[in-house]
């Protein structure tokens, strides 16, 4: 008898736990999540985007406005949500091709606080925006010029966000970049996120510029760069840099300067350099970078600070625009090519430093980090007026280039 009652009690406990414990407070259907793929931050724009003729509905412009609790709208926040049923790239091959309809939905709201805008999206979207899979953040140039800490604070603070989210700066509207429907991908955000992976093919794009990097630079008072992104209706291009001094953008850096900025920062993963042939200046030789290592050290002589940039590179000869074939197996020729390349690179590095010092005044080469790391005592003395010191800082450049492969013809 006693045994039986124990079994009954156990059964009862079992049934109760089956009934009570199968739910979950945080249960959420996967298709009810609004996966935000990209965020665009613009200045508020006073342009109607929808068709204003349909009077029975509000125009899109009016939808984008809402009553703020404090202050006036300063930013136009755009989030990109995928329309999953319209996705064209199927997991297995076939598919793609430019569709007529947009495959993503870009919602814009004007506001001051991103989190307020974020919650205001719930008045328009059936499912809550979910940021765990956020791929890119695109900032408009003017926003960047006014300081990026306020618009990015929520993104850094919120536990849903990831530090590997890439950040871009667009000279045009950030919304336009998100609106692009790439020909071979479904969503502009995903496409843009993948682009910097090509940094081993070209050094004209930055590749380690994610949210974590931005946060580190902002918090340690280091100047930094973000990649520039421009767009047409169905194309995106990621090249060149936006230069930030503290938290404000101060200007753009061209593509070739980008190569050498990366070279100084020891961030070159690949790419090419083009030099004139040592024999005939009208012939160009293209060298493919296979390995670049740069070490920067300060040379301190009393009050005089100099930077010593030592770089070692291994290159392959990729192309020689010549009329008659030279003998690339000729050691003397290879040596002359190496010399020429060394000269070219060190000149370009000097040029890039001079340009940044004069035109931008932002220490994007992280010479201050070098000072802090290798000469902490001197750094304590100069850190307060580092920017004025940086503008006249001299650099000593030593480049050592070795040719490795020469291709398969002489």
């Amino acid at each position: 008898m006693k045994n039986k009652s124990i079994i009954y009690i156990q059964l009862l406990v079992l049934i109760i736990s089956v009934l009570m414990l199968n739910g979950c407070w945080d249960y959420k259907e996967v298709e009810k999540r609004g996966y935000v793929l990209g965020i665009g931050i613009d200045e508020p724009f006073p342009i109607p985007q929808g068709d204003g003729e349909n009077k029975s509905h509000m125009s899109e412009k009016e939808l984008e406005l809402y009553e703020l609790q404090q202050g006036d709208p300063r930013y136009a926040f755009t989030i990109q949500v995928p329309i999953l049923p319209k996705a064209q790239i199927k997991p297995l091959g076939a598919g793609g091709g430019g569709g007529e309809e947009s495959r993503s939905w870009n919602l814009t709201l004007l506001g001051r606080s991103f989190f307020e805008a974020n919650r205001e999206f719930s008045t328009r979207v059936d499912y809550m925006p979910f940021y765990e899979h956020l791929q890119v953040i695109v900032l408009n140039e003017n926003i960047a010029k006014n300081g990026i800490i306020p618009p990015l604070d929520m993104i850094l603070r919120d536990p849903e966000m990831r530090r590997r989210t890439r950040v871009f700066v667009a000279p045009d509207k950030a919304l336009d970049v998100l609106k692009v429907s790439p020909k071979i991908d479904d969503y502009a955000s995903l496409y843009l996120q993948q682009l910097p992976n090509n940094a081993d093919k070209t050094s004209r794009m930055a590749h380690v510029t994610d949210l974590g990097e931005v946060a580190e630079s902002l918090h340690s008072n280091t100047d930094f760069v973000l990649p520039r992104v421009i767009s047409t209706e169905d194309e995106i291009k990621n090249a060149g840099l936006a230069v930030f001094k503290k938290d404000k953008m101060v200007g753009w850096l061209g593509e070739v300067y980008t190569i050498y900025t990366k070279w100084i920062r020891d961030a070159v993963k690949g790419g090419i350099i083009v030099i004139k042939s040592p024999e005939d200046p009208s012939v160009l030789i293209t060298l493919e970078l296979s390995e670049v290592k740069t070490k920067v050290k300060p040379i301190i002589d009393g009050d005089n600070i100099k930077m010593k940039i030592e770089s070692k590179a291994v290159v392959n000869i990729a192309e020689i625009t010549q009329t008659k074939h030279e003998n690339v197996l000729d050691e003397a020729f290879i040596e002359r090519v190496e010399k020429e390349a060394e000269k070219e690179v060190s000149n370009r590095i000097q040029e890039a430093i001079k340009y940044v010092q004069k035109k931008l005044g932002a220490d994007i080469f992280h010479f201050n980090v070098i000072m802090k790391s290798f000469a902490p005592n001197e750094w304590e003395k100069v850190k307060d007026d580092w920017h004025s010191i940086f503008e006249t800082l001299e650099a000593e450049v030593n480049v050592d280039i070795k040719v490795d492969h020469v291709g398969i013809i002489k």
């Binding site: 979950c24 407070w25 945080d26 765990e132 899979h133 536990p159 990831r162 530090r163 590997r164 992976n197 974590g212 946060a215 580190e216 918090h219 340690s220 980090v369 802090k372 790391s373 290798f374 902490p376 005592n377």
Partner: protein, 362 residues
Amino acid sequence: MNKQLESINIIAFIINGVLSIRLLTLPREIGEHAKNNGWMSVLLMGAYIFFVGYVFFWVGTKHKDLTFSQICEKVLGKFIGKIVILGIGVYTIVSVGLGLRIFGDAIQIYLLDKTPLIVTMSIMLLACSYCILKGVKTISIILDILLPLILVSIIILIILSFSNIDIMNLRPVFHGGITPVAKGALEIADPFLTVGIIGYILPFFKDFKKMKKWIFISISICIVIYMIVVLICILSFGSEELNFLLFPTITLAKSIRMEVKILERAESLFMAAWVPITFTTLLLFYLASTLNLKALFNTKKDYFLILSQIPLFFIIALYPSNISEVFKFMGWNEKIGQILIFVIVPVMMIAQLIRERRVKAK
């Protein structure tokens, strides 16, 4: 007391005890003082911990059937002994309470944002008290099961994080001298003090054969793991950024990203690990606290003591209104821990030595 444990079981007790929820916040706490030399702080404290571990073991072998608290009373005299036991009691109970709160908060922030705090906390606490009611043998088996899981997931986290590191963040090495490093070392005294669990479980062991070796190995493993985690956090964030991160180790796990689209949410691996990490630490603190209270009240009523602590834990866990208050209380509790580790432990050793000499003299 029933002696059921083999001496190798001590590994699981020590490692599970020392690797605590503090692993999530510690890199920042050390970094605030020691900057980029934080890893040295761990080594510095680690050296001292070998001594502490040895004292607990040595004193324990002298009184084979007594827990550390009972030894305190016997060696230091009834009055001082009781004060020390009371100190240990406050320290262990507050540690469980606040540990529970940090665990609940972290769960709420990163995993289950709608589940009420009290539910996650009570499930954790119920599991702990159930284990303790079942006895030391059960605890030992559970710790043995969880140990490889915890170690493997921490090692995976460390390996995956290697893609983010920047060696420049370590420089300048040892700039600023020893003082910041020592201050940073004080921060880690609290999680390392859990080696004191040795003093409470020794009476449950059959014999002490090779015990010294196992204690040495397990403390070394703990030091290495803490040091690497602190090191990786400094290497991947830099000491300045580290100061801004409330839970640097979770942020570290969240910032893992590969170029290829695998392991997109690698942090879930680590999330799965720190639930057992917290569980084992809380469990051992709970165990120590129970044994300590037994010594304080000189009673044998296990059930009553175990269950009566539960409301106390809840009150302490729910009293702070936000995380900054939790950190404040934790700071105070750490002070008690530091007194225990830097004053009581050496005092115990000296008192024991004096006692022995007196016995010899007689």
